[in-house]
Point group: D2
Amino acid sequence: MTISDRYDPGPQLAHAGTIDLGTKNLERSLWFFRDILGMEEVERVGDTAYLRAYQELGHHSLVLTQQDDAIVNSYGFRVKRPQDVELFNEELQRLEVETVEVPAGSERGRGTAVRFLVPGGDHPFELYYDMDRPQAAEGLRSKLPSNSSTRRGLGVRRLDHFNVQTSPSTINEAEQWVRENLGFKRREFAYLPDSPSTVMASWMSVTPQMHDLAIVANRDEKSGQLHHLAYNLENMSDALTAADILRDLDVSFGVGPGKHGIGQAMYLYVHDPGSDHRVELYAGGYLIFEPDWEPIEWKPVDFPEGLTWYGDPIDVSPGSRGRDTTGSASL
Amino acid sequence: MTISDRYDPGPQLAHAGTIDLGTKNLERSLWFFRDILGMEEVERVGDTAYLRAYQELGHHSLVLTQQDDAIVNSYGFRVKRPQDVELFNEELQRLEVETVEVPAGSERGRGTAVRFLVPGGDHPFELYYDMDRPQAAEGLRSKLPSNSSTRRGLGVRRLDHFNVQTSPSTINEAEQWVRENLGFKRREFAYLPDSPSTVMASWMSVTPQMHDLAIVANRDEKSGQLHHLAYNLENMSDALTAADILRDLDVSFGVGPGKHGIGQAMYLYVHDPGSDHRVELYAGGYLIFEPDWEPIEWKPVDFPEGLTWYGDPIDVSPGSRGRDTTGSASL
Amino acid sequence: MTISDRYDPGPQLAHAGTIDLGTKNLERSLWFFRDILGMEEVERVGDTAYLRAYQELGHHSLVLTQQDDAIVNSYGFRVKRPQDVELFNEELQRLEVETVEVPAGSERGRGTAVRFLVPGGDHPFELYYDMDRPQAAEGLRSKLPSNSSTRRGLGVRRLDHFNVQTSPSTINEAEQWVRENLGFKRREFAYLPDSPSTVMASWMSVTPQMHDLAIVANRDEKSGQLHHLAYNLENMSDALTAADILRDLDVSFGVGPGKHGIGQAMYLYVHDPGSDHRVELYAGGYLIFEPDWEPIEWKPVDFPEGLTWYGDPIDVSPGSRGRDTTGSASL
Amino acid sequence: MTISDRYDPGPQLAHAGTIDLGTKNLERSLWFFRDILGMEEVERVGDTAYLRAYQELGHHSLVLTQQDDAIVNSYGFRVKRPQDVELFNEELQRLEVETVEVPAGSERGRGTAVRFLVPGGDHPFELYYDMDRPQAAEGLRSKLPSNSSTRRGLGVRRLDHFNVQTSPSTINEAEQWVRENLGFKRREFAYLPDSPSTVMASWMSVTPQMHDLAIVANRDEKSGQLHHLAYNLENMSDALTAADILRDLDVSFGVGPGKHGIGQAMYLYVHDPGSDHRVELYAGGYLIFEPDWEPIEWKPVDFPEGLTWYGDPIDVSPGSRGRDTTGSASL
C-alpha cells in the first residue's frame, strides 16, 4: 500500500481533452485540420470526423460535425479516475446544476460523460474518463511509442487549451464557479478597465500549464461563445513556419505571430475555413509547478504588453473585436 | 467551501526544486552557471553562492558550495503544502528511514527541510516547503512578472530534472521506494539487457514532465552518484546556439546536441569546469496529462534510438561510460 | 594564365563594408553594440571606437564617433581589386563628381579611400580596398578560422546592408546613378502611389544578397538621411530571442519582429540608445544567383504585404513616419 | 552607357543550376523529392521528371530519369551571359577538352548546353544559359513573386551545391582545372594526411557561398563519383524538423544533423530511396564577400572539428566510407 492509497484527493480534472466543433463545410475543415495542420483523421461516421494530433494517444481531441450552425457542441475534460465522472455528477446535483448523461460511444471512442452548462457561462462542458487508444494506420504510425503518428503538415502535436467568452454581467460567477467546483487555479488575470472588480480575462489551469481554460469578457454581452481553441507546436520557430505557409494559402489570418507576455507563449491565430472558428497555434510558455502560485494581475496600462510582448499586436482598443465568434450548443 | 476542501490528498511533492553542488573551484563554477548559462547570483554567503534561472521566482534552485569533494550535498524537492514537510517526516519514521531536520535558513531563503537518504539509492533528498521570493537587483529585473530577471547568456530558464545513479544491486529497491513513498510515477523505463528484471533506467515524475527524476544503473556498482542535473531552455534551437558557443569556450563537451526518443527532448551535456559535474541543457519534450499513463518500456534493440532519436549519439556500448561522476554526501 | 586573366571586368564594388556613425553618447552606443548585440571592440582611439561582428575578419565594420551631431559620417564600400579605388576615382572625375581622398589610417585599419556624395542623394560614400585583419584578443578568439571571435550577446555576425533616404525630387537620379556607375542591380522596387514614375523604394545589390543598399523616398523631402543600417543574424529564431531580450532592456523598440515579403527576411528594428540611429537585426532572405534577374515591382495594393509578410506590421500610412532619422555628413 | 558596359569580364559561371539523376525507381524518387522534401513536379516526359524547389523560378533544378544505372547523367551550371555558352565552348576546344553540344529542349525548358568531362575528374558538366520560367500550377503558386510555389513538405528552397568524388591520383588536376578554367575559387580545403600535397577535399565557389562545388578524394580511387547533392533550407531549425520526420519514415539516414566547422552550415545527409543517391539538407553557413579571401586550410588534427563542429559526427576514420556512391555518365 503506497502513501497515496491512504488518502482521497476527491474528483479532479486531468486536462482539456476534446472539443466538438460544428462546421458548415466538413471537407473544408478536414482540409484545414488534417491536410494543413497535419492531424490524423482517426474515424469518420457519417458527417462526423474524429481527429487527433501526432502526440495524442487517445482516440481523438477534435470532433468535426457537419451542421447548419457552426457552434461548439461541447468542451470535454478528462477526469483523473474512473469514479470521478460519477462523483462530479453527484457534486453537480448537490449544486443544483442540471446534468445530462452522454452515453459511452455517442462520441466515438469515448466513455460515458456527464454534460452540463457552466453556471454564468453557458458553455457546454462534458467530463469523461474512458478514451480508446487506437493505433494509427500503418503508414502513419510513429516509431516513437509516445507519438501516435508521424509529424506532418504544420506539426500540431496536442490540444492545448480553450478560450471562451462570457457576458461581463456573469463572467465573475462563471470564473469563480469553475475554480471552486472544477479545481481550476487562477494563474494570470485582468479586470475590466471601466469596471475594476469585473473579470476581463482569467487564465486558469488544472495542470502546470499557465492555462487549460481562459474565460474572457464578451463585448457583445453574450455568454456561451468560443473565442478560440489552441493546438500546441513543439517550438516557437514552428509558429513562424506556420505563418509563412498559411499566408500563402487560402486561410484567413487573424493576428500573429507574436509572443504573449501573459503566459510567455508564441501565438498565431487563424480561422478554420470550413467552420470559421478561430484556432490558435501555440508554442512555448512557462509551466507552473509552485503550489502557492500567486495569480498575476495585469493592470490596464500593462495589458497591451501582456497580450503582445513582441510581434503582431493584438488590438485591445474598444472598437476592435475581430471576427464575431460563434456560440455554443445548449444542454 | 470548494470541492477540494472536502478531501485530503495527503503529502505530495510539487517539483524538483534545489540542488546543492560541491565545487572545488567556486569562481570557475560561477563563471559557468552565472556568466555563461546566464543564471542570477542571488546571494553569496562565505564560500556558498545561491543562483536561480530567469524564470524562477524562488530564492534559488542551485547552491554552489566550495569544498574539497565535488559531491552533491543535497537534492531538494518542494512539497505541495506547508504541513507536508512534517507529514513526510512522520511517514519516513513509520518506514524506519532515518531523517535529519535541516533548520530554516541553513540553506539561505529556504524553510525547514527533512533530510534522508533514499533507501537503496543513498541519494540525500531534502523536502521543504517555504522559499523566499526576492526581487532581482534593479538592473536585472524583468518587466514580465512571471520572470524574475531578464534572459541572459545561454538562457537557461529553470531547473528541469535530476538524473542519479545507483548500484544495479539496489536500483530496483530505490526506484520502487520513490514511487511508492514519494509519489513518483514511472513514465519510461528499460531493464538491463543481461538482467531483464533489473531496472537499467527509469524516468519518473510527480509533474506532467516526462521526468523530474531519473534513476539509472551505475556501471561501477556505486550508489549515491549524480549522473547529471538539467536546466531547461525555451526552444530546441537554443540548444544549437548553446552548442555553438560552448564549443568555442573552454568548456568540456559531453555529448549532444541531439534529440532523445525517450521524452522527445533536445539534449546537450556539458561539464561545469569548476566542479566537473555534468549539466544537461534540455529543451522541448512532451508533457503527460493522462492519469493512466502506461509506462513505456524500451527493449535493448530499440534503446539506442530511445537515447538518440537524432543527433550526436549517446554511446551505450559496455566499454563506454564517459567521465566518472562524483558521489553524494551522507546523511 | 587562367581564363579570367585574359579579361578585364573593370572597377567593381565587392560589398558594403563600413559605416561611421556619429553618437552623442559613445559609452551608451558601446553598451548597445558591444555588450548587447555582441560585437567586438577592436580598437579605441580617443573618442572613436572600431567594432566588428564575430564573422567579420576585417578590422571593423562599424565606427562609433562621439560628436555633437548624431549623423552618419560615411558609408564605406569595399572594391574588388586594389586598383579599383583609383579607377573609380578617375571615373568619378570623368562624371564631374567631386571627390576627396581619405588617407590610409584616418579610419584605423583601412587603406586609402575615395570619398564623394552620391549625386541626387548626398550620401557620403567612401570606396576602399585595404583593410587590416587583426586577430581578436585571446579570450575572444574563435576556434573557427572563418570567425574572428566567439559568438556573444545577441549574436550579430556581419554588417548586412544600408538603407538610406533621399528626397522624392532627386531619388530617381540617385537610384539610377548608383546603378549605372557603381554596378548596383535593382532587385525589388516600388513607385510612389501618387507619382507612379518616382521611386518610392529600391532594393539593390552588387552581391547575391537581395540588397546591400536600399534607397527610399524621404517624406520630409530631405536627402542624405539614414533610414537604418542592418546587421545579420544566423537564424530567424535569433530575431525572436533578440526581441525577447531587447523588450526587457532599456532599448527603444521600433517595429518587429516580422518577415518582409520583399526579400523574405526577418526584421527587427531597434534604436541605438546612444546615437538614436535605427538598427535592423536581419535574418534569412533569399539569394539571387540569376544573372538576368528581373526586378520585382510592388504595386501599392501589395506593398503592405511586401513590407510585412507576417509579424509586427510596418506602418505605411501617410501619417506614420516613426522616429525622425538623422542626416549625413557633407563632403 | 554604364561603367560595366565599357569592360568585358569574359565568360563566367553564375551558379550550380541543374542535376540529372538516374534512378531505378522513379516513383519512389518522386515520393522522396516531391512529397517529402516538398519540391514541385513541373513536368514529366515519359520516364523523366523535372522538379524545382519553391524558391527557384527556373523550369527545374532536378531531373529524375528512370534508368538501370542510378548514376549522375549531368551536373549543370548556368553561365552569366547568353554568349558565354559558346565562349566556354571555344575555350574548351582551345584546351583540347572534348565537348558535345546538348541541343535546346533535350533537357526540357533548358537552352543549348555544352557538355564535357572535367579533366582529371570525369564528371559530366553541362554549361547553359537559357532556362524557361514557367508559373506553377494555380493551387501551388506563391503570392510572393520571389517564390515559384508555396513552401511544402520539409521546405527545401533551392539547389545549393554539388559534392563530387575523384581519384586521389587525379584530384589535384581536376581541382586546379575547375579553378583555372571555370572561375571557381578555393574557399576551404584539406590535404590527405598521408600525402600532404594531394587535395583530400576542396570547397570552391563562383558565388559568395562557401561552396557551389566540392571535390573530395575517393577512397576507392574512382573518379566520376557523386558524393552528394545539397538542397538548401531556410533555417537550421528546419534541419531538426527534417531529421525528426525522416527518422520516422522509411528513409535511409546517413549522418546528421550537425554543424560543419567548415562552412558553418547545418547538415543532414539522407538517401533518396529510389536512386540511393545521397542528398544533403543544408542550412545556414557564412557568405564570402571579400575578393581576396584566403583559402582556409584544415590540418588533420583539426579536420574532425571541421567536419563536425557539433552534432552527429561525420566519421573520418580510414575504415569508414558510408554507402558506396554511384558514378557518372560518360560524355
